[in-house]
Each structure stands twice: as structure tokens, then as C-alpha cells.
Symmetry: C2
Subunit: 238 residues, 2 copies
DNA sequence: CGGAACTTTGAACCGTGTCAAGGAACGTGG
DNA sequence: CCACGTTCCTTGACACGGTTCAAAGTTCCG
């Protein structure tokens, strides 16, 4: 048995990667070794600055981080979240510069991403992970381009739930939710004021309960329906 | 000398890839061979459907295409364009399903992407290309999340110009512009009506001339200023 | 010459942003 | 354990950017 913290930390990554591709003992051993080099980083600390020469690819063992860009006018756009068991900066090799900055949203624990032998289960899991990561970017584009505030929020909550389930970081219908409304606004391309109002609608509609840093989604069918709903159909259909 | 069409077609790709990484004669020969298998595809034809098992990675020799998603309500979001010399579906290998659909916006000419030996200049050029492609997605997210209509359009025109220059498909300050206002709206997350009005503002401001399917950008500094304009502009690039 | 696709225009409407202020929660030091 | 500052959440009034709907004008092409 390992110390409980390192253990919990390793688990999210091992669980997630192990589901993306079959891992053999050797793969698991590498993850375990890497996890023993874990560093803890405080919330709001930058893990990587935009344009930085890319350090090493990193594995997020626990906590939440985000990729983001600062705007000339002081605003910020969060491009994507990084959740437990997900990869940071694994991409095209010799990538000279980071395409975005990365910041810890909560306290996080990270370790260097273990090198994977080409063809190994681990290597395959990395590829799958990178593919999911691109899928998340595409979903984010669609969300920002074509959904309204309520739809964006609903879609985002559903995505969070799915992604957290992948590492057993969520239970069915509920998960830790450390995001401030301002962070949420920066993800969804809204203002924090409007996020606040939209959250209230969701609570009133009974599709979201937020308390004590935990989100619960008590009505999945309705939440899913919100994403595709024609605005205004809300009252009529439910 | 090759027939002029195939020649022009090969050129955009060879020029672009040759600038992303140094190519040796062998690399160029592979590109030339692949180009000889070019297929022509009409405008509005789908090159790949979302969720399709990924066919082969493809090289766009000439014309414009787009990656897009259809929405349940009938709308559409264009995720990214594919311009001459750019790659389609080159990514994580064994990717089981296409993450987006791809459609020809003009008549296009495509060929199978030649296999590159690991370590070759060609392989390196592909990696660079994939990296630029991700950068474009991140830029698109920022554009949709944090810029208003005028800023989105200005930023998009500047991006187009840069990307087309990479394959000598644009001259300095002017390039072919085959997009309908509806396509533009689907890229920028707006309605075509509002795109129309925004285009008029840009013309009135003297930063854009559209005629005969060609766009001219007569005032770069002003166009760039538009992107960051409005509230107290800090400088810096993002 | 006729039709389809695309662009342009106007008026009304509404989703989201802005500004400003007050309230709740939380951590820290006394 | 309380006082205090900081961060985060909530609310209201109002302004504006962008959408919607509808119709007319234009370009393109067979």
C-alpha cells in the first residue's frame, strides 16, 4: 500500500488510461514510478506559459487545470479543461512553443508523463487521449458558435460528467465542482453575471444542484433536452 | 513539365510543406506521385462524414474545404477551413471515427497523403502542419468566445491571409475568396444577415474590398487594430 | 430568358453585456 | 472566537449587439 494521497492520485490516471487501451503490468509500473515523482501545485499557479518552450508532457494525477489564452483587453478565454488522468502538452513532438497557457484551477498534482514504447498499450492510450482532447476542442467550438447560454451550460455540465466518469472522478449524476462562476464564464464565453443568472434557471428547472463544491444533475433527460431545445420551448415541454 | 492543372495543384502543397520542414528530392517525388492520383470533387460534396471510419489521410491540393458539424436544430458550425496544401484527417493513427465531417466549399482536388518515413522531412512537415491545425482550433475558440462580430471577421480575414500565404495561394494583401456569406456566418457563429452588415462596415472603413471572388485588405494596421479595438487596448499579440 | 442561389435592406425583438451595489462565505491574524 | 479583508455570489436597471422575419434586389448559369 502506498500513502493514500499518491494512491488516490495515481488511480485517476491509471483508471482512465487503462480504459482507453489495455495496459500490461509494465505500463502500470511506469505510471506508478512516474506518480512517485508527483509535484503538488497550488490553485491559480501557472503550469505553463503560452509560447514557452514546451517542457515535458505532463500527466494530471488529481485536481483540475485549464488551457487558456489571455486577451489584449484583459479578458480571458478558457480553451479546455484538464481533468484527472488527462494529459498536458502531449502532442506533436518537437513542438517548439506551447499553443496555450495552462493554469491550475484547484490544487493539482502532476507528474512527468512516462515515455511509452511505440506500440505499447500506454502509447495507444496516449493516442486515444489526444484524440479525445481534440474532440473536446471541436465540441467547444460548436458550443461557443451555435448554442445560447443555457444550452452552453447544459452541454458543458454533461461533458464534465462524462469526462470525470472516465477516471471514476464522478459518481453517476454527481461530481466535485470547484469552478467559480467567473471561470465558468471564461469557459463558456459569457460574463459571470450572466452565468449566475443561467445557473439560477437551471436550479429552478431542477436540472442542477450546486452545494458544498459538488454538482448534482438530478434530471439527465431534461438536461440533455435543454441542449437541443428551441429557446422558449422550456416551459411548454416540461 | 506536367499538365498545368496537376502542376498548379501540386505546387500549393509542395510549397507549403517545403516551408514547414526541409524536403529532400525523395520527399518531393512522393508528393508528385501522390498528386498524380488526384481526384477532383465538386463544391458542396462531402469528403468525409462525421463518425465515418477514417479513410486515408488526405492532402488538399487545391480549392477550399471545411470541417463542420451539423446541429440537431438544422444549424451548422464550421470548425475550421482546409486550405490548399493542408492536411485532412492526419492525426492520431488508428482513430476509429472521424471527429467531424468534411465538405468541399469550392471544387477541390485531393490526393491520398503520401506515407512519410519516420524522421523524414515530410514526416516533420506533417507534424508541423498538425500543430498549426491545432493552433487554428484554439484561435477559433478564442474568436467565438471573446470577440464581437467585427472583431471575429477581422481576425478571420487576417488568419486566412496568413494561411494562404503559406502556400503562395495569396498575394500580399489579396487572395481568392470563394466563401458565401452564409458559409462565413457558419464559421463565425453569426447569422448571414449580420455578416452582411458587418462586411459593409468593413468596406465603409476601407479595410476590405470584395469583388469578383477576390478579397483585398488595403489597410492591415487598421484591420489588426479592429481585432483588439474597443475597450482600452493593451498591446501584445495573443 | 428564367430560375436558383446569393446579397441587401428594414423594423421589431430579445439575449447578453454593462454598471453598480449589496450580501454571503471563507481564511487569516489578533 | 471574533474582527476583518478578500473573494465570490446575487440582484436590479438599462443599453446594445445580434437575431428574426420578410421582402426586394442582384448575380450567376444553364
Amino acid at each position: 500500500m502506498k500513502p493514500s494521497l499518491a494512491n488516490a492520485a495515481r488511480d485517476a490516471a491509471t483508471i482512465r488510461l487503462g480504459r482507453l487501451a489495455p495496459l500490461v503490468d509494465d505500463d502500470r509500473a511506469m505510471l506508478e514510478t512516474a506518480a512517485s515523482e508527483a509535484r503538488r501545485i497550488q490553485a491559480r499557479r501557472e503550469l505553463m506559459a503560452m509560447g514557452d518552450p514546451v517542457r515535458w508532457p505532463t500527466l494530471l494525477l488529481s485536481g483540475w487545470a485549464c488551457r487558456y489564452r489571455d486577451l489584449p483587453n484583459g479578458g480571458r478565454q478558457i480553451l479546455d479543461l484538464v481533468l484527472p488522468g488527462e494529459l498536458i502538452g502531449f502532442g506533436r513532438q518537437s513542438e517548439p512553443k506551447a499553443l496555450s497557457a495552462v493554469m491550475a484551477l484547484t490544487e493539482v498534482s502532476v507528474c512527468p508523463l512516462p515515455d511509452a514504447q511505440p506500440g505499447s498499450g500506454l502509447a495507444q492510450a496516449y493516442e486515444e487521449s489526444a484524440s479525445l482532447s481534440e474532440a473536446a476542442l471541436l465540441r467547444q467550438i460548436t458550443r461557443l458558435g451555435r448554442l445560447n447560454a443555457l444550452q452552453r451550460l447544459a452541454d458543458f455540465l454533461l461533458e464534465l460528467h462524462e469526462r470525470l466518469l472516465a477516471s471514476d472522478s464522478a459518481e453517476l449524476g454527481s461530481f466535485p465542482f470547484p469552478l467559480t462562476q467567473e471561470a465558468l464564464a471564461d469557459v463558456l464565453g459569457l460574463t459571470s453575471v450572466h452565468v449566475n443568472r443561467t445557473l439560477q434557471v437551471m436550479r429552478r428547472e431542477g436540472v442542477l444542484v450546486l452545494q458544498g463544491g459538488v454538482a448534482r444533475l438530478p434530471n439527465f433527460p431534461k438536461l440533455r433536452a435543454l441542449v437541443t431545445a428551441i429557446p422558449d420551448a422550456l416551459s411548454r415541454e416540461w
